[in-house]
């Protein structure tokens, strides 16, 4: 089995246009959640979203390139470029075919789809734009990265709602560990601020009217966010041989399905995913220093996640710092696993657990050692990052400094 190094990071979201900008905000406990533009009558029931307002597609792509790339794919490519540039990898020769790209997204390109429906059903115009299909497809970002860098190995996209990019990173990690590939670009992206999609979220009644406050007793829902994050994963020996800077290591990955209910969370499934991840990593629960929680800020998630964490970590739970960075970058859905993987890796690197902001008062049902208000310095060696999806699908990754 090969060790797997992280040699490149790329990220953009409501907190910033690159990893450095995002980390500065995560470390200082700054919010990326902003008031949403008024959609007209009737207004949304929620007025806040974590929009990547600093992301301008024309800064990164020609008009011709943009014909084929929707916002979620644009963001995937830009995050991929940052990660690859940082890694210093070039994909000449055999590395091109021994590199994978695995991305995650929940819904893919929603804007092209909505525009098509508008023409068809609202304007009674059956002539829908010819590039709707390639713009909409969930693998558009992965394929665009493949074309741009000439990466010819396994390239695919995972769509498991809010666990998508955690699953993507886990699969890429396993491929490298098992020797199928030497390197991988893995992560995910999501662009949720399309009106039809927002109306559908509104109807689910899980979006908070306020900026989300995970684990706080007065929490009443999540805050939607958009963004992308990509990691360059690399065979440890390959990375060392070329003198690459190693930002951390992936130790293990675990996944499970609740087999319970399509939206109601339960304790067993998430607990199993965490246990599998620790087993896969070959470490004991007591070795974990920090958990980047799924922590959506819904009533149900935060309570069941607390119970799951307490069941896995038993008594030493109080030594483990826990936070939900969604309080700053929102719930980026299919990108959440990747955005939070980077937050976790940087927490380890800097010895600083980012906070759960907006927190007002503890909930006795969420009795974890929560980092609230401001980041907490601590010697962090090993951390876990959780994502739990609608459909009852759970994924956990274990990282080492």
């Amino acid at each position: 089995m090969n060790r797997v190094a992280v040699t490149g990071l790329g990220m953009l979201c409501a907190l910033g246009n690159n990893v450095a900008e995002c980390w500065a905000k995560l470390a200082s406990g700054a919010s990326g959640i902003v008031p949403l533009a008024d959609p007209g009558a009737p207004p949304y029931k929620f007025q806040f979203g974590a929009q990547a307002l600093g992301f301008n597609s024309s800064d990164h792509f020609s008009e011709r390139e943009l014909m084929l790339l929707e916002r979620f794919a644009q963001m995937a490519v830009v995050a991929g470029r940052e990660a690859i540039a940082q890694s210093g990898l070039t994909f000449a020769g055999s590395l091109a075919e021994r590199t994978a790209i695995v991305t995650g997204t929940s819904v893919g390109g929603q804007f092209a789809e909505e525009t098509g429906y508008y023409r068809l059903y609202r304007e009674n115009n059956p002539r829908v734009a010819p590039l709707t299909i390639p713009r909409t497809m969930s693998n558009a970002g992965a394929s665009a990265i493949s074309v741009e860098y000439g990466i010819t190995g396994p390239v695919y996209t995972v769509s498991t709602a809010c666990a998508s990019s955690n699953h993507a990173i886990g699969q890429a990690f396993w491929m490298i560990r098992n020797g199928q590939t030497l390197a991988a670009i893995a992560g995910g992206s999501e662009a949720v601020f399309a009106e039809g999609l927002l109306r559908a979220w509104e109807a689910m009644r899980v979006v908070s009217s306020q900026p989300c406050r995970p684990f706080s007793i007065d929490r009443n829902g999540l805050t939607l966010g958009e963004g992308a994050a990509m990691l360059v994963l690399e065979n440890w020996d390959h990375a060392q041989a070329r003198g690459a800077i190693i930002h951390g290591e992936i130790l293990g990955f675990g996944m499970s399905s609740d087999a319970h209910h399509i939206t109601q969370p339960c304790v067993d499934g998430p607990a199993k995913a965490m246990r599998w991840a620790l087993t896969d990593a070959g470490i004991a629960p007591g070795q974990v220093d920090y958990i980047n929680a799924h922590g959506t800020g819904t009533l149900a998630n935060d309570v069941t996640e607390t119970q799951a964490i307490r069941s896995v970590f038993a008594e030493p739970t109080d030594n483990i710092l826990v936070s939900s960075t969604k309080s700053m970058h929102g719930h980026t859905l299919g990108a959440a696993g990747a955005v939070e993987a980077i937050a976790t890796l940087l927490a380890l690197k800097h010895g600083l657990a980012p906070p759960t902001i907006n927190f007002t008062k503890p909930d006795p049902a969420c009795n974890l050692n929560l980092v609230t208000v401001r980041a907490q310095p601590a010697p962090l060696e090993i951390a876990l990052s959780n994502t739990f999806a609608f459909g009852g699908l759970n994924a956990s990754l274990v990282f080492k400094r």
Partner: protein, 99 residues
């Protein structure tokens, strides 16, 4: 006057019947299994079913149920009472508007 309360009772009954019909239709269960005193738990109505039923109720009565309703409505009677108060609030606010 004795006729007043009787009409009121009829209206109450009618509203309850409409809500019960919506619940039965949305849950795909026989109408006679839903009573005013049924709890959502007895009818196996979970939170996802709940938002689906509330959506249908909003459409039928042209009202808007706040998100908190999903967590506070636990029985057919809760829902009928909630719908009635929202309808009354709507009537009061439109009566207050100058024409």
């Amino acid at each position: 006057m004795p006729t007043e309360p009787a009409t009121d009772d009829l209206a109450r009954n009618d509203l309850a019947q409409k809500v019960i019909r919506i619940i039965a239709e949305k849950q795909r269960i026989p109408l006679d299994t839903v009573a005013l005193d049924s709890t959502f738990e007895e009818l196996k109505i979970d939170s996802l079913d709940g938002i689906n039923i509330i959506f249908a109720v909003e459409e039928q009565f042209d009202i808007s149920v706040p998100d908190e309703g999903v967590h506070t409505i636990r029985s057919v009677r809760d829902m009928v009472d909630g719908v009635r108060s929202l309808i009354e609030a709507k009537a009061a606010s439109s009566a207050a508007k100058p024409e």
